[in-house]
């Protein structure tokens, strides 16, 4: 058992998940690779979406990986921070929009 739950060096071992289940891992990595190819969205747009999602799900591996990936694809610091704000806005918005549910319930319970 390592001292911490997250070890930065484990990111490089991502491919090793195939050790316990090669068939599904192969399908997963094929699909993963396909997802990030240029399509209707550019590879950089996909990288910035991945970076925003990484912050929403708070995956440290993904944050490291997609910060570097986005920089490699020519994104600058402002673009990356805007992506993080999008992530934050959706997370914050998700809490705030539930305020309507709270209001509905409160109004129903009130005279």
């Amino acid at each position: 058992m390592s001292d911490t739950y997250y070890n930065p060096r484990d990111l490089k071992k991502f491919g090793e998940i195939a050790e316990f289940e090669p068939k599904l891992a192969e399908k997963f990595f094929d699909w993963y690779g396909e997802v990030f190819k240029e399509g209707a969205l550019t590879v950089r747009e996909k990288s910035l979406i991945a970076l925003a999602v990484a912050h929403a799900i708070q995956c440290p591996y993904c944050i490291d990986a997609y910060t570097e990936d986005a920089m490699q694809k020519g994104a600058n610091e402002k673009m990356m921070m805007e992506a993080v704000h999008v992530s934050g806005a959706i997370r914050g918005g998700a809490s705030m929009v539930h305020g309507v549910q709270m209001m509905n319930k409160a109004k129903k319970l009130s005279m």
Binding site: K12, V43, R44, E68, M71, Q72, K73, G74, N76, E77
Partner: protein, 350 residues
């Protein structure tokens, strides 16, 4: 302005110390040495194909001190190629009909015989002359302000570094104020017709990542540079070359100081692309040092690894047949040229 490693008497100013780092550490057991990697893909030894480019380093003096410079160039570097050696280059290029001369430095324009050499090379019938200009030299002193028209008169191909289309990343790599001076210089070049469609005058830009990461897709970055430089500054250029930073000299210093060295080397090794090996520049280039020594590439020059031909490793003993029969010298820095889409002085290769 920072000083060169040499002026700071930094350990890394000695090529032997750089090679020691590249041969040991993470390459002792963990990562395969470049030679063994080539063996595993049956691409060892590397041999030259045809000599197409005579890349001449006319001196290490430069008006800039970029953080990533593999030459360790700067105003304090005094190594300059003599007129005598420049003349020898002309004779060799003429004798062997080498189509392209590629002038690099330092800032090649700071060699006092630079203009004379370009004119002589044209006179000698060289098909193409490339000048690797850092752009700011054009704005460094009044005596350089007519360089754009000089380039035009001699139909020189200008290749210039610009790591990003915005100031912050450019200045962080190349020094404060470099971006704005570069933009002014690019406008002056555009005014002469450089980079303008149909002019026949070529202006290419070089993108080096401003940090410990690999360059992205060349075509995509070129599109982005073109869009942004046009909309923000009305600047045109021809091609963008993406070049990977090689782990030597001041970039090696940066990698070590920032704690990125091992991760960066792992990245280069894991991105090794056998298809890029076929396009590496050492196959069609001879690099000439300021003192006339011959190398497989400008990087080997900086690591003091001359061509592996004791009888023809200098301008004075230049023997093309003998040189074409050589094995190209490799070390772990070579992973920089074979990572991903590959990297050469003409950008991606695979």
């Amino acid at each position: 302005m920072i000083k060169s490693l040499k002026a700071r008497s930094n350990d890394l100013s000695l090529s032997s110390n750089q090679l020691e780092i590249l041969d040991n550490g993470i390459f002792k057991e963990e990562l395969p040495k470049f030679k063994n990697k080539l063996k595993s893909t049956t691409q060892y030894p590397l041999r030259p194909s045809q000599l197409e480019i005579f890349q001449i380093n006319v001196g290490y003096m430069c008006n800039q001190v970029c953080k990533h410079c593999h030459v360790d160039a700067g105003p304090d570097r005094k190594e300059i190629m003599t007129k005598e050696n420049l003349q020898k280059c002309i004779e060799i290029v003429k004798k062997y009909n080498i189509p392209t001369i590629d002038l690099t430095g330092g800032a090649p324009e700071m060699n006092p015989n630079f203009r004379w050499f370009v004119e002589e090379a044209i006179e000698a019938g060289v098909e193409e002359i490339i000048v690797r200009s850092n752009l700011t030299i054009i704005k460094a002193n009044k005596k350089y302000e007519d360089l754009p028209s000089f380039f035009k008169e001699n139909n020189v191909r200008v290749v210039s570094s610009l790591p990003y289309y915005q100031a912050s990343k450019t200045d962080s790599q190349r020094g404060d104020g470099v971006f704005s001076k570069s933009i002014e210089a690019l406008k002056m070049l555009n005014k002469e017709g450089y980079g303008v469609k149909g002019s026949g005058l070529f202006l290419d830009l070089v993108y080096n990542p401003a940090g410990a990461f690999l360059p992205g897709d060349q075509a995509q970055l070129e599109g982005e540079f073109k869009r942004n430089l046009k909309s923000d500054f009305n600047i045109d250029f021809n091609q963008l070359f993406t070049i990977t930073n090689l782990p030597i000299s001041r970039f090696l210093e940066y990698l070590i100081a920032s704690g990125n060295y091992e991760d960066y080397m792992e990245k280069l090794v894991s991105a090794f692309n056998p298809a890029a090996v076929d396009g590496v520049m050492c196959k069609n280039t001879i690099s000439v040092g300021w003192d006339g020594k011959l190398f497989d590439c400008d990087f080997n020059q900086m690591l003091d690894l001359p061509v592996d031909k004791a009888n023809s490793n200098h301008l004075d003993t230049f023997d093309l047949d003998d040189l074409m029969d050589r094995e190209i010298r490799v070390s772990q820095h070579c992973y920089g040229c074979t990572a991903g889409a590959g990297s050469s002085c003409q950008g991606a290769v695979a």
